[in-house]
Symmetry: C2
Subunit: 461 residues, 2 copies
């Protein structure tokens, strides 16, 4: 399979923004502004026939041909009918890669215009993303081609999760959500109509990208089935891939076609391919985030036995239910040695069993004591800690105890904390130290199941 | 069935706090403080043998017998072994109702102590909530017996949702979450071990409570099966009841027993009873909130045909998928009249179909125009609007357009908005005006399905 080098698109030393504008309502203005705001330190050129001599201190050229410098990436944000000609000029100017943000191609029936775009890309061997896309974001290289202002869409921090997204809308909402998560972003690649560069090319590139530890993707239609299977076979042996596939029903398939001109195809076929090759299948947007969180922070489990330690009995019961219903995880039976040791140090009110309910007055010390005993229990493969910060004993010291234990243990460990402001504060505290926090037993246990299933897939011969 | 009057417990003119304390670490201190903070305007008495003459300006009595005034409610927060005697004194003093916050009864094996408590409650005909519970909250009467400080657990505003909860931990976390929702609370009743007052008594009371429009409940075990069925038959004809039942698996059942001494029983039996009598079954904590939101703000739908109007194509596709997979909802086919009218006023980029993708630059006016045409479409029973506030056109004016339309239409209408701060601001804006907002297609459509199913149940003969 031919590998497309996306490096000049994601780590460009020089960028030309074609359609850069001084009108704050224009896409070409917001893109330029976001480059400046993100602190991009490469060379930046504005291209616009009618925009005067400079915009925000950046020199404006009438055509990309006038720049006469090496250009790694051209971001094209002009009306659809002018795009092929602008790309032709990019080709002539030796531009290495292009991103066509503009819509109005195959997704609105303008197949012919899109074919012209593809021809130019192929003629000049200029990998082109889009059209009808948001482009890319890479917080390490400070590339940000999004035309959405930062007050509307908070930008994620630097991390190991790459997000491949066919839809701009899903892309922008998920990015906005990632900005509030403890894990950060490696690359965001929104590829829209996939006219030239498609999901196969992108996965191929990200498979070897060392900055990418986990891939999450939203896809409407897969264009090249055979090549997709080829890359699918390889990529999940290297890193986990979570996929949300839209177009699962006839109504969804029809909607997808009018959205990105995608041929969504039969979902059962897609799903069975995903599962066969170890992809983690997401059912909803929130799954993308929940699964990214656990994959980016956890080592893989070596077994399926879970210890649940809680300061709230009811949430412990719900979590035990979810574990039992998961179909793969099991509640651990603590060793006699653990039970005897716990009985000695826990208050009389605490029933020594799994889930271990430390009671509503449990503080950081009680969590530490319990975890210290259970840390050497061979019947435990995974720790699920429930800390309800509404209770009298749970505070920042309790969160700190969990963070300390997390740093010491090799076993996967997650936390469940449910609530408003006081809880949110502690969630940030724990997640920024690498302890994933979930907001419901269902979200936590389905994520843990995904981690276990991937681990089983990966260890298969 | 004997009806227990819980009014003196929820709307007391006078409250005695037995175990009131000046030590800020003590439960009896936090409870007293919360009464004062909530602005309770009835008579408040502190009871404690060893607490001096007054606490926070409230006179302290050595025994409830010394008060010699009418007392509607005694809140008891003293070590378990002293509870029966304190209740005996309450009975002698003519106290009308009691809440035993203290734990250390049947849930820790102390069945005998709990039996003594029940005997006293019965002897004096003094309905008693608990033991091992958080008690009650009623933002109208400003009753708040919770021993959890407000900085940890934000208090909900006044509204129509009553929350019946066996577990204190689930109770406090869900209350904390409700505080961030647009709907408000009618009553919170945490009943712990259900030794005297149980879920049957509480449902019986709330059925006739005009302030309660919707009931959500978390239950571990149902004590009186026959009586529960009797009330279940009647209550869902009057108002919707959403139930989350813990103890769905052997591991969960065992955990529930050690938590509230509940006999969780066989889940399939419970679930089939719930469904037979029109309860809405929640699978997770978040469902309780999602369903409460739609039941508290929406009139019941008269049909199952949904129009989806979006400014983000991908989220529209996912929503169409969820509707098609719901098993009860259907995508509406817009009338020819609607399609012709939309074609005239929408930009050429907009495909006239359902989901109607208004495109990323849709502003409030475009939403208004589309909704105005579709408002008279007889093929539409329900509106699902998707507003992704990351997009260039979506702002407060777009939210205002939706609120205006919501005020005019009789049909159920919900919104899906997914994102961080800027989105959260608009979610609050819309929800405080009665437009429910969901954070994912799955959450939105499962809630809408619950609403439709309840409507079908209620309209059955």
């Amino acid at each position: 399979m031919k590998k497309i080098n996306l490096r000049p698109m994601l780590k460009p030393a020089s960028v030309a923004i074609i359609g850069a504008s001084r009108d704050p309502e224009k896409v070409g203005h917001v893109i330029l502004q976001n480059y400046l705001n993100a602190g991009y330190s490469g060379k930046l050129y504005a291209v616009n026939k009618n925009a005067g001599a400079e915009i925000s201190g950046i020199k404006v050229f009438g055509s990309v041909l006038e720049i006469k410098q090496e250009i790694d990436l051209a971001v094209i944000a002009i009306p659809a009918q002018f795009v092929p000609e602008a790309m032709e000029e990019c080709g002539k100017a030796g531009v290495k890669t292009a991103i066509v943000v503009s819509g109005g191609f195959a997704e609105t029936g303008n197949k012919e215009l899109q074919d012209r775009l593809v021809k130019v890309a192929e003629k000049y061997n200029m990998p082109t993303l889009g059209p009808n896309c948001l482009g890319v974001m890479d917080p390490r290289s400070r590339i940000d081609t999004l035309f959405l202002p930062t007050y509307k869409l908070s930008r994620p921090s630097v991390g190991g999760v790459s997000f491949v997204c066919q839809s701009g809308a899903v892309g922008s909402t998920v990015l906005d959500l990632i900005s509030g998560e403890g894990f950060g972003l490696s690359k965001f690649i929104s590829y829209g109509n996939a006219a030239n560069v498609d999901e196969v090319d992108i996965l191929n590139y990200l498979m070897d990208d060392e900055e990418t530890k986990v891939i999450i993707m939203y896809v409407e239609g897969i264009k090249r089935g055979k090549e997709f299977i080829e890359i699918a076979k390889k990529i999940t042996k290297v890193k986990p891939v979570v996929v949300l596939k839209a177009g699962r029903t006839p109504a969804g398939i029809a909607a997808a076609h009018s959205h990105t001109a995608a041929l969504a195809g039969d979902y059962e076929t897609h799903e069975s391919i995903f599962r066969q090759f170890g992809f983690t299948v997401a059912e909803d947007i929130n799954d993308l985030l929940n699964y990214a969180k656990i994959f980016s922070s956890e080592s893989l489990p070596t077994g399926n036995k879970v210890a649940v330690i809680t300061n709230g009995g009811g949430v412990g019961v719900l979590t035990a239910d979810e574990i039992s219903m998961s179909g793969c995880l099991e509640m651990s039976k603590f060793t006699k040695r653990s039970c005897d040791a716990l009985r000695k140090i826990m208050p009389a009110l605490v029933n020594i069993r799994n889930p271990l309910d430390l009671a509503g007055d449990a503080d950081g010390e009680r969590y530490s004591d319990a975890l210290s005993v259970l840390s050497t229990d061979d019947n435990i493969d995974i720790f699920v800690i429930i800390t309800l910060f509404q209770t009298p004993g749970a505070d920042s010291r309790a969160a700190a105890s969990l963070i300390s234990f997390k740093e010491k243990t090799d076993k996967p460990m997650i936390d469940i904390s449910i609530g408003a402001e006081y809880t949110r504060m502690h969630r940030i505290m724990m997640e920024s130290s690498g302890l994933p926090v979930y907001d419901s037993p269902l979200a936590a246990i389905s994520s843990l199941s995904a981690l276990l299933k991937y681990s089983i897939y990966k260890n298969r011969k």
